[in-house]
Subunit: 359 residues, 2 copies
């Protein structure tokens, strides 16, 4: 089967670049003495998680109970739900099963959430979430000690603290966000110590701030690095050669000097940060900009001759995590993984997006 | 089964409001003598399409071949793929099958796309797409006549012209966009007449411009009206009472006077127009604003006392079409459709998002 016979738009994964990205992050974490817990919400794929673990990851980070179920079943040695879960009876049953399959850690940022965990007897370690400046979830650093002490009084085991310095997602903010992160988790760790809670884990990091992360961290949870995307490119956190994931689109319309592709927000996602140059980038046309996107249209402006109608174009989504969740499978290319067992004649090799929609 | 036992976030559909929205649009189209071809990309649901057809819709509009397959199989009498499709060999096979099941119309905005349709012998009627000011796909109105003549020379049947006045999606722009639409399709229709192509259909409309649409139209293709969403609300195209679709979320965190819900861009979609007040609205808290959204977090600012941790909150997505495509099913509420055959004791009634991911 020829790749042109595949109906576009589809998700294309270059496995050679994927494996190189996985190796590079493992080497970087190891060199800095950091435990690597890759965030699997980015890829939602058992095949990719297995490669991350084989390359030295200590465990996997996830955002939801559904993701935890998929990766626990697949044999991950440890799973950290880095999210302030609210445990309900239905959810408790599922968490008990996950905890029987793997070492489970769960984020907590309020006494009430800790109460729920204890009430249902979930045998998970608690990770105290701290707000380091992103102002999303997470308790203030100065409240971490009291929260940890509360959890311990409930009989829960506190493994440590974590934060997501998401305010690093703006041009030139990586270093300052890492600074905030270092200060916040240091204060939280001191608070735990003052409260008499000995908890060894200090987990942090975001892709744009990872290179700057301070030595107080023991663990990192990068996600997007496996694929990279237009956001990371435009923030300077990756090069074009490190982009493993694209959406293959078709040129369907060329009115009045512009070009319209059949990949839109239902295949690329609708993320567009205020600082983004557009709705994604074209891997092979660095000067092109996607100036508008609707569900099934990406409008491209570029200099030079426009590709012919019917041409296939590789689109780099702004945000890989949301793009992946819109697809059921990856179509592999690049390196030996793209070949089927019989050498490739049987058609394209695909990997499932196993946890798609489990949000 | 209690609705609280359902693991949130999930998609909640009030069927009483849904049915009222369907009836109102059918009555409005009938009163104006317009053929109603609802856009099924919004709901991707056979159950909902059936109700639209039962209420008097002439056929269904879709955006992709995958959607056409789902609704042709379900027995839709006519399907209009309102998109400038590029036909490949693999796609031709699928289109031939769809054309054997229903009356098929396909959008065309270039001579080359018409050539492809003819080359593969797809027995579909051609609809010429015209740009009426949205500047996405569509040929200029003055080019419609020549394109229609070209299609006819290829042996294709030209059914008419269509446009999408998508530039209506901004506050106060509905009337002006309807004006542009009227002018563009009138020029296109005149062009077809000059080229000797008699084609009866003139299809247009968008939800914010529908109320203003000019009498030159014969057909309309509204989509979002079945559900409505935060965009339509903020554009004044619907009232809160006409909103049938919400995402049920849980309050998971309440740090420092704000509230964080567990519905984010992976369950609500990431659409946020420049004029939108935030990343969605809370149905029961009209003054609340979602000031930030990430994949699994919606950060809410509101006055008055915040709901308790663990509370369920009804979130109105900014853009229903993208929100629906993130879910596998609707959970029904409101009216008799929410009751199971045995009166509701067997658990929640759901409808599948049949064409989810077929983008």
């Amino acid at each position: 089967m020829n790749m042109l016979d595949l109906d576009a738009p589809y998700l294309r994964l270059d496995t050679a670049i994927l494996e190189s990205n996985i190796r590079a992050m493992s080497a970087s974490a190891q060199a800095r003495g950091l435990g690597l817990w890759p965030h699997a919400k980015t890829h939602k794929s058992v095949e990719i998680a297995r490669r991350q673990l084989d390359a030295g990851a200590a465990g996997l980070t996830v955002a939801t109970v559904g993701e935890a179920e998929v990766f626990a079943r697949a044999g991950a040695p440890g799973i950290f739900i880095a999210y302030p879960l609210w445990v309900t009876p239905a959810r408790a049953e599922r968490l008990l099963k996950v905890a029987s399959q793997t070492q489970l850690r769960i984020g907590v940022d309020s006494p009430s959430a800790a109460d729920q965990l204890a009430r249902f007897g979930i045998p998970a370690e608690v990770m105290i979430e701290v707000d380091s400046g992103h102002h999303r979830s997470g308790c203030p650093p100065e409240a971490a000690g009291a929260l940890a002490a509360h959890a311990r009084r409930l009989g829960l085991t506190v493994a440590g603290v974590f934060t997501f310095p998401g305010h690093s997602y703006a041009p030139g903010r990586g270093d300052a966000a890492a600074d905030d992160e270092g200060r916040a988790v240091s204060e939280a760790v001191a608070g735990l110590k003052n409260a008499g809670v000995a908890a060894p884990v200090v987990s942090g990091g975001s892709s744009p701030s990872a290179a700057y992360s301070r030595s107080v961290l023991t663990d990192i949870r990068p996600g997007v690095y496996v694929f990279n995307d237009a956001q990371q490119l435009e923030l300077g956190a990756c090069t074009p050669e490190e982009i493993a994931l694209t959406v293959v689109a078709t040129v369907v319309s060329k009115p009045a000097g512009r070009m319209v592709l059949d990949a839109g927000t239902k295949t690329l996602g609708a993320d567009r940060a205020v600082w983004a140059s557009g709705h994604g980038r074209l891997l092979e046309h660095p000067d092109a900009r996607i100036t508008a996107a609707s569900e099934h249209h990406a409008t491209v402006e570029m200099s030079g001759p426009l590709p012919a109608l019917g041409s296939r174009i590789l689109v780099v989504p702004n945000h890989a995590c949301n793009a992946v969740n819109l697809h059921d499978q990856y179509v592999l290319t690049g390196g030996s993984a793209a070949l089927g067992a019989d050498g490739g004649s049987a058609g394209p090799v695909t990997w499932a997006v196993d946890a798609r929609g489990m949000n």
